[in-house]
């Protein structure tokens, strides 16, 4: 089961298993070693990440029990603004959901809300990025068809990444996002703007102070993230440049083939081979056009998402560092003051626990993320390479058939197979 489509029959099958407590657990959470209850709180998440890394292969085969689809962009015009909503269809067999199918309509703002709540509740988990709010270069209008389609696909990927996450997919906010007809009430909950601001300011103050001792593993992680960020940005840029060069190449090709056809009009004997060459070039330019499209629709968006991921990773590291810093500040105070020992002691212990949780969560999710990243990028590159092979194969066929027509019946195999 690939889990990439929404197979109605499978979810029926799943419903049957629901009745059997043991099987249900097994089939939904193959990554759980203890077969315990659904993780509901950050605390219980810690257990999940005691797993070995070789479990990561199983995740591909993990039974997916929740499928989300984002489609149907629609334009809405009000007195104040114009915006696009997307239809979000959910099919699931999970018991937390009252029904097995849901359909809601969400706008980009709602996705932003969801993501920020996820980051708040799981500060050291790696939440997949959203497509950007604006596209600066190219002066793309917000309501341009291509832009909307690109965004829709990215939003679809975003939600599915969450579905595939063993922890995030059980988030209450995620459930609300998928099921509530009106998100309004949910949006009013949670830390308000001011408290969030306060937290940010404390975080800045703490990060300025610096950490006492950063665990080696996270230093290594930070280094990796910094390098990865640079490299993925470079690959993204190179790919964009390739697309640009391909487009210019294609434009010139479009002027090239008419020249042969015009010449053919002057000639008699020579007209046929000239037309032949002109047609070959025309068909190759069409193939180039298709190939450019594939690059733009498959490789580039994936690379771009991982560019955004790099920023997410940096933010996660910062949050982890802040949690540690917060603990260290209070711990220092405890060690030095000795006055309000009782209350402070408890607080420090609590914070220490938080640090442990945060580190564990990150550790586990890091492995998960590395693996998903590898899979995604590998798949994108393989697809791009494959498409290039296809491009050249098609062009080859075009030219070979021309050659055949010129050589006539006495096809001289040796000439072109030996060729260069």
């Amino acid at each position: 089961m690939s889990g990439h489509t929404v197979p109605a029959d499978i979810s029926d099958h799943m419903l049957d298993l629901d009745e059997d407590e043991d099987l249900e657990v097994y089939s939904k959470n193959t990554t759980l070693a203890d077969g315990g209850t659904m993780p509901n709180s950050p605390g219980s998440m810690v257990n999940q990440y005691q797993l070995e890394e070789d479990e990561e292969d199983h995740q591909d085969v993990k039974t997916k029990d929740i499928f989300v689809c984002v489609d149907n962009p629609e334009s809405h015009i009000t007195a104040i603004e114009t915006f696009i909503t997307y239809r979000v269809v959910t099919k699931t067999s999970r018991s937390e959901f009252d029904s097995s199918e849901y359909e809601v309509h969400r706008r980009y703002q709602d996705f932003v809300w969801l993501r920020s709540r996820l980051e708040e509740n799981y500060p050291t988990l790696i939440v997949h990025p959203l497509p950007e709010k604006f596209v600066m270069k190219g002066m793309v209008e917000r309501f341009n068809d291509d832009f909307i389609e690109t965004r829709r696909k990215a939003l679809h990927r975003f939600l599915n990444k969450i579905c595939e996450h063993p922890v995030l997919s059980y988030s209450q906010h995620f459930k609300a996002f998928l099921t509530a007809q009106d998100l309004g009430p949910y949006k009013k909950q949670g830390p308000g703007f001011l408290s969030r601001m306060g937290e940010t300011m404390r975080a800045v103050a703490i990060s300025v102070r610096g950490l006492r001792t950063k665990p080696e593993e996270f230093t290594v992680m930070q280094e990796y993230i910094d390098h990865f960020s640079t490299k993925i940005c470079s690959v993204d840029k190179v790919t964009q440049r390739i697309i640009k060069e391909q487009k210019e190449y294609m434009d010139e090709l479009k002027q090239y083939s008419p020249s042969y056809l015009q010449w053919a009009e002057l000639e008699e004997e020579l007209a046929e081979p000239l037309k032949g060459v002109g047609n070959c070039i025309e068909r190759c330019s069409k193939e180039t056009e298709d190939q450019i499209q594939h690059l733009s629709e498959v490789l580039l968006p994936t690379l771009h998402e991982y560019v955004l991921c790099a920023d997410t990773l940096k933010a996660v590291m910062r949050r982890r560092d802040n949690i540690q810093a917060e603990y260290e500040v209070k711990n220092e105070a405890l060690v030095s003051r000795r006055v309000e020992q009782e209350g402070l002691q408890e607080e420090v212990e609590d914070l220490a626990g938080r640090v442990e949780q945060a580190n564990s969560a990150l550790r586990g999710d890091w492995t998960l993320w590395r693996n998903v990243m590898r899979t995604d990028l590998k798949s994108a590159f393989v697809s791009a390479a494959d498409r290039n092979v296809e491009y050249y194969e098609k062009c080859l066929a075009v030219w070979e058939s021309f050659l055949l027509s010129q050589r006539g019946e006495s096809v001289e195999q040796t000439d072109w197979e030996h060729g260069s």
């Binding site: 990796y224 470079s234 690959v235 015009q262 010449w263 390479a385 021309f402 260069s420």
Partner: protein, 420 residues
């Protein structure tokens, strides 16, 4: 006879005006100091160049350069006054060519000054080496000015009315003259050939230009992929499982980027084959022009003969059918004696006989020329069709080779990506 300013007729072969003053004129600087009547009257220069756009013979939009011809009265500046504003008009290169052709035909015994080269060498990696390159335009401007000064300082050519009109009147009558200069009964085959040759020239030129631009673009596409090689290599250093796959894929990207050099090198041979036939069109046109010249001479000789015959008849019968100066003077100043008249008739008869012989010779020459020329033209056509067809086939083979290399590189890269 020296002053051509009042002459209304186009100079024809029969009238040979020899300016009494000069006979040698070799140094550019002294050309102006020389005093042909024309140069005594005016200063000539080609002051500027500018760009225009329009449609050419094969109905394609083209940009071309026009040159500003400035003429000023050569009198010295009046005291305390500013120099008079020059008369100006714009002409393009092809108009200079038309003038030169006129001079070639009209003064076949004169060594007509050459024009600067018609077009720049076009090399694919030097984008600016075309007719619109500012350096080339500047060199041409100087060359055209030089040409005009040579003509203006030539003892015979400077007296030509058409030259004067070329310098001073927008409508120099050159175009309509060219029609007149053409033979009265042109050989249709030669006309067709000349037309074909002109069109072939234009189209091959255009094709070569576009091909060079295409080559430039495809070069860009391949070379940019080299960046993948570098970035993948750097990236592979921080990755564990992905490292090897990335690194080896990177090597293949380098191979891909390097492949384009040989590919384009080979394509230059193809371009050279086309260039050869581009230059051939000049030779073809040259043959056509020679035929035109012979035909023209024949027609002029026949015309001359007719004139002489009429003169003789006129003298013999006394009837004045042709208005001539001689006729007028004899009417005004008294008849000539019978002796004188008979003398002149005899002289004319002699001349007529010589003329008839000359025409017979010329006619035979012309026929032989046509026969030989046409044999060679047929041979040339066959050769051209064969050669160019082979060239197109070899071009197809090059494209096939390029596709095969592409398939190989990207298949290898795909394998490497699969190992990520």
């Amino acid at each position: 006879m020296a002053d051509s300013g009042s002459s209304e007729e186009v100079a024809v072969i029969c009238n040979t005006d020899i300016t009494s003053a000069e006979s040698e004129n070799n140094i550019i600087n002294t050309m102006v100091e020389r005093g042909t009547v024309l140069l005594r009257k005016m200063e000539i220069s080609v002051a500027e160049a500018d760009k225009r756009t329009g449609k050419n013979t094969v109905n394609m939009q083209e940009t071309y350069t026009v040159y500003l011809i400035e003429t000023r009265p050569a009198e010295s500046v009046p005291e305390g006054g500013t120099p008079a504003a020059p008369d100006t008009l714009w002409r393009r290169y092809s108009e200079f060519e038309l003038l030169r052709t006129y001079l070639l035909v009209t003064y076949p015994y004169i060594i007509i000054p050459p024009l600067p080269e018609k077009r720049a060498e076009f090399v694919w990696h030097k984008l600016s080496a075309d007719n619109l390159d500012p350096d080339f335009v500047e060199r041409r401007r100087v060359g055209l000015e030089n040409f005009l000064l040579r003509v203006a300082s030539h003892p015979v050519l400077s007296n030509d009315k058409i030259v004067f009109l070329f310098l001073t009147e927008v409508d120099s009558r050159l175009k309509s003259l060219s029609a007149m200069l053409r033979v009265k009964n042109p050989d249709k085959r030669f006309m067709g050939l000349k037309h074909y040759s002109d069109e072939l020239n234009t189209i091959i030129l255009q094709l070569l230009r576009v091909r060079a631009r295409v080559a430039d673009r495809v070069y860009g596409v391949y070379k940019v992929h080299g960046n993948y090689g570098r970035v993948f290599s750097e990236w592979s250093a921080i990755e564990k499982e992905m490292g090897d796959g990335l690194q080896s894929a990177g090597h293949h990207m380098d191979t891909y980027a390097a492949a384009i050099d040989d590919i384009l090198e080979e394509e230059e041979h193809y371009a050279d084959q086309l260039k050869e036939y581009l230059f051939y069109t000049d030779s073809v046109r040259s043959v056509c022009r020679k035929h035109e010249l012979i035909q023209y001479e024949l027609e002029m000789a026949a015309q001359d003969l007719t004139y002489k015959k009429q003169q003789k008849e006129e003298l013999a019968t006394g009837a004045v059918r042709i208005f001539s100066l001689k006729g007028m003077t004899s009417k005004l100043f008294g008849q000539e004696s019978q002796e004188q008249r008979e003398g002149r008739i005899a002289a004319l008869e002699q001349s007529i006989q010589e003329g008839e012989e000359a025409i017979k010779e010329k006619d035979a020459e012309c026929q032989e020329f046509v026969q030989k020329a046409w044999t060679d033209i047929e041979r040339f056509k066959e050769q051209k069709d064969k050669d160019l067809r082979e060239a197109l086939i070899s071009y197809a083979i090059m494209q096939i080779s390029m596709c095969k290399k592409g398939i190989q590189v990207w298949s290898n890269a795909k394998e490497c990506f699969n190992k990520m």
